[in-house]
Amino acid sequence: MGGEITLGHYLVLSGALFLIGLAGVVLRRSLLVVMMSLELLLNAANLALVAVGRFQGIPDPQVAVFFVITVAAAEAALGLAILVAIFRIKKTTAADQMASLRF
C-alpha cells in the first residue's frame, strides 16, 4: 500500500478495467451485457485520458473525454435500438441465437 500515487497507478487501474470489459465482451452471451461491457471499455479509455491530461498539464484530453462520452451515448442509443428490433423478430437477446446469415 505504501508509496505515493503516480500516473502509473492510474494507467494500471485503467488497463485492469479495460481487461474486465474485454472479458465481458468475449465471454457473455446476452447482447445487453456485451453492450454494458463496451461501456466499461470506453470508461477505461476515459480514465487513462484524464489521468494523462492531469499529469502532463494539458486540458485537451478532457475535451477528448467529452467527445467520447457523446459518441458513447449515440452508440448506446443505436445499439439498443438494433437490439429491440432484433428482439421483436427473434424473441431473444442471446448472441449465439443470431446466426441467420450463417449457411
Binding site: 500500500m1 508509496g3 497507478h9 494507467l11 468475449v26
Partner: protein, 168 residues
Amino acid sequence: MEQLFFWMLAAGLLISAITVVAVRNPVTNAVCLVSTLVFEAALFITLEATFMAAVQVIVYAGAVMVLFLFVIMLLDVRVEVLGKISWLKIVGVGLVLLLALVGLPKLSSVFPFAGEALHWGHAKVPGTAQDLGHLLFSAYGPLFLTTGVLLLVATVGVVVLCRRDTEA
C-alpha cells in the same frame, strides 16, 4: 490522503466492474454499471477534473444508464440461462489476463511522466467548465459541430429502426 482515496475508489471500481461482467441478472448488471460510473467520476475528482466528473454522473450514470434500464424493462429479459461453455474462449481470456497481469505495470512504467507523484492542489490546468468550454468552442469548434450532426443522425436512425410498419 491521496493514497487512501485512490485505493478505496480503485477497489470499488474494480469490484463493481467485475460484478457487471459476472452476474447473470440484467438489472443487477445495469445497477452495478451505474456504481462503476460513479466510482469513476470520484476518480476524476481525485485527478482534479471536476467538470468531467459532473458530466460523467449527469450524462453517463444518468442518461445512458436510464436508456439501458428502459430497454431491460421493455424487453422483459429473464435471468440468463447458462449455455454451452466454450473452454477455448475461457482459456484464451485467462491467458490474456495472465499476460496483462505481468505486462501492465511494466508497460505503464515506460510511459513518460509515469513516476510523477499525485499531489492535490498542484494541477497545472484546472478542469473547470470555463477552461474546457473555451477550448471546446475555439480549437475544437468544428469537431463540436460534427458531434451535433452525429447525434442528429443517431436520433433519426433510432426512430427509423424502432418504427413499426403500419401500412404493411
